[in-house]
């Protein structure tokens, strides 16, 4: 390590790295250029070798190149990553949201639009008539999830490829939000509490 690494730079107060002066061999250039070509060549033949072995069915456990073959392959996302929102359903399929507008209030990007209406069940009383999230404005801060008193909005779909051909298309409606599915098994908030707090 010592032999390969150059003199470590010093970190400036502003957070940048200040390199020390170049050594004689670095200033000569040709040596450093040759070293770079060597590194590239080693990786090339190493990857070629593994690709060839994969073709004949060998060394399946070793990865050849670091490139992820998106979209067929997906990188690992930690389970708690904040990704596209979904609205959680009750057992009967109705949205758990009661239209309290806490998420709309806390949202720093003002990208949530809720209109509430009367729920026919007086014990539920209130439900969202309209619940739109403008993903074109969303900053994925997750405050809406934190603020929700009903655990009705979650960001656990692991959907990150969000694109549309128009700004209008970036707006998710209640139906689209209800269609979202959790990517992995969902731990209920109560079970989570029991696990954490005993």
């Amino acid at each position: 390590m010592e032999a390969v690494a150059r003199k470590p730079g010093t970190v400036t107060p502003a957070g940048g790295v200040k390199r020390g002066p170049l050594t004689f061999w670095e200033r000569v250039y040709v040596v450093e250029a040759a070293r770079g070509v060597w590194i590239t060549t080693v990786h090339f033949f190493r990857n070629m070798g593994y690709h060839f072995l994969h073709l004949v069915g060998l060394a399946k456990g070793r990865q050849a190149a670091v490139t992820v073959q998106y979209p067929e392959e997906r990188r690992y996302l930690p389970p708690r990553s904040r990704t596209r929102h979904r609205i959680v359903r009750r057992d009967d399929g109705s949205p758990r949201c009661v239209g309290c507008m806490m998420c709309e209030t806390i949202c720093p990007a003002r990208c949530i639009y809720i209109v509430a209406e009367e729920d026919p069940d007086p014990n539920i009383e209130k439900r969202p008539k309209r619940f739109d999230i403008d993903l074109g404005m969303c900053v994925f801060c997750g405050f809406c999830v934190e603020a929700c008193p009903e655990d009705a909005i979650r960001m656990d779909t692991q959907m990150v490829d969000l694109a549309a051909y128009s700004r209008r298309g970036m707006i998710l409606t209640l139906d689209q939000l209800l269609a979202g599915e959790p990517a992995g098994p969902v731990e209920s908030i109560n079970a989570l509490g029991e696990r954490v707090h005993g």
Partner: protein, 520 residues
């Protein structure tokens, strides 16, 4: 005159003054639910307990009379401990409904809990369910008994203020709940006031239900336009979130205390009259029914008025502000040498609490500024040989168009006046301008801008000012208070008054200057 000490400060009060009122004189707020200055004293919530030195038990500040030499503590450890205990007790059966409750954000339970409450409840028993959950008890009122803390303010209101006795408390102990009297329906003229009185979310307004959260609203002081009483109100406007309630800007009216006018109340007719501000407005100028730009319409109107020379007149509805009326008078009766008069206000029902038969807010102002009342516009125009008329506001002008060469109407809503107009100009309503109204008793009261003129409309005073400029008589007024200053300098009853010194409670005509605000 008893002299007592509250929290180390001395105060002298009239005999019979309660401790809560004496503390108010010192700007000390004692938490309370059931006490209301407009109602009799019930003393049932126990939230206002204070310590009086020499008395072994805590005393309720709302019903203990001040005595000479009393030493009262309202905020020591003992008071705070009692308050926390009372709150815990009140909350025993209160549901965790805040997410769906319209009161959230203006709820005294929430506010006092944050200020005085304990961290958690020690009650393990299930909450007692009441019978009425989201139950309609009147055309505009919802009752939720679970949220009720039984302060009885609403019951006392229907007993003492409206004398209609619709409400009562039935059952015993934790089964007690607010109930309608057999066969009754909470539909009296002032029913909406029980929603303002309710310190929690037990009584809510069906009209406001789920429309908006209260913390989205901005409150602006204004005057109700429902009748000549001129009840003081705050207009609650949703400025930032236009997706609520179909884009309506004004969400509700709430009465504002003014002991000289409406005390704490307002009638339902006035309360729900806010709807006209955003509903079916005239949003474009028109010439002979064709929509045109406001400037073109003003040009057309000015050209027609010029042709009529001095045979011009202005007829103002009594919904116009004092400033608009004065401008109309100064232009038409003054500069142009024509006539200025006001249209007889429409009459409606009347009662012995607030509602007056005269259904417009500024009839007295029109009497003072324009003087002449016109009941028959057609006859009046004939009698004065008027050729061109400008009408400000709504009125029945049937037959007027045939009598004159030109009729300009500054209208806010499509109606009988707008339908007759040669030139139609989109004007402003009271919530869109600074200004003043003079109520039936001659009290001049301020209006403040709650919302800008609705898209397409222009402030009525600005339209009159533009018209004056086009007719060769420009006025040097930049804003509404300049117009009022000119009005005050030219008309004796308004002398000494200005927008700045009217304050929150207004001032009587001829008073010279507003009386200092007294603590009531």
């Amino acid at each position: 005159m008893p002299k007592l000490t509250i929290d180390g400060r001395e105060v002298e009060v009239a005999p019979g003054t309660t401790l809560i009122e004496a503390a108010r004189r010192l700007a000390i707020h004692i938490p309370h639910y059931c006490y209301h200055r407009g109602l009799s004293i019930a003393g049932n919530c126990r939230m206002c307990l204070v310590e009086v030195e020499g008395v072994p038990k805590m005393m309720i500040a709302c019903h203990t009379q001040a005595a000479d030499g009393m030493v009262v503590h309202t905020d020591n450890d003992k008071c705070r401990e009692y308050r926390a205990a009372i709150l815990e007790f009140i909350l025993v059966n209160h549901p965790l409904d805040c997410p769906v409750c319209d009161q959230a954000g203006e709820c005294k339970l929430q506010n006092y809990y944050m200020e005085h409450g304990t961290a958690g409840s020690r009650v393990d028993e299930d909450k007692v369910k009441k019978r009425a959950k989201a139950k309609q008890i009147g055309p505009n009122i919802m009752l939720d008994s679970e949220r009720c803390i039984l302060c009885s303010r609403c019951v006392r209101f229907t007993d003492e203020i409206t004398h209609t006795h619709e409400l009562g408390i039935t059952e015993r102990a934790d089964h007690s709940e607010i109930t309608l009297a057999p066969g009754a329906w909470l539909d009296n003229r002032y029913a909406g006031c029980v929603v303002d009185l309710c310190p929690v979310g037990a009584l809510t307004d069906r009209d406001f239900r789920f429309k908006c959260r209260v913390w989205y609203l901005t409150a602006v002081d204004s005057i109700c336009t429902g009748c000549a009483r001129g009840c003081n109100i705050t207009i609650h406007v949703n400025r930032d979130r236009p997706h609520k309630a179909g884009g309506t800007r004004v969400m509700r009216y709430k009465p504002r205390e003014n002991p000289a006018v409406n005390q704490w109340w307002m009638c339902d007719a006035g309360r729900y009259s806010y709807k006209q501000i955003d509903h079916e407005r005239v949003d474009s100028a028109a010439v002979d029914g064709r929509p045109v730009a406001v400037e073109q319409a003003l040009d057309a109107s000015a050209a027609a008025l010029k042709r009529a020379a001095a045979a011009v007149a202005v007829l103002c509805a009594t919904t116009a502000t004092n400033e608009e009326l004065f401008l109309a008078r100064a232009l038409f009766a003054g500069a142009l040498g024509g006539h200025a008069a006001y249209l007889a206000p429409p009459q409606g029902e009347q009662d012995d609490l607030l509602l007056l038969a005269d259904q417009s807010p500024n009839t007295r102002g029109a009497q003072e500024i324009l003087g002449t009342e016109v009941r028959d516009p057609v006859g009046w125009v004939k009698a004065h040989g008027v050729k061109a008329v400008v009408v400000v506001g709504e009125a029945d002008l049937t037959g007027l168009k045939a009598e004159v060469d030109h009729l300009t109407v500054i209208a806010t809503h499509p109606g009988k006046a707008a339908a007759q107009a040669h030139v139609l100009l989109p004007g402003s309503v009271h919530a869109e301008v600074e200004g003043t109204f003079t109520n039936h008793a001659g009290r001049v009261q301020r209006l403040r801008v709650a919302v800008p003129p609705i898209r397409g409309a222009v402030e009525t005073w600005r339209l009159l000012l533009e018209l004056a400029g086009r007719l060769g008589h420009p006025f040097d007024f930049a804003f509404e208070d300049d117009i009022f200053a000119a009005l005050a300098s030219q008309l004796a009853p308004f002398a000494g008054l200005s927008h700045d010194n009217l304050g929150r409670r207004g001032a009587l005509l001829g008073s010279g200057a507003p009386q200092p605000t007294e603590v009531v």
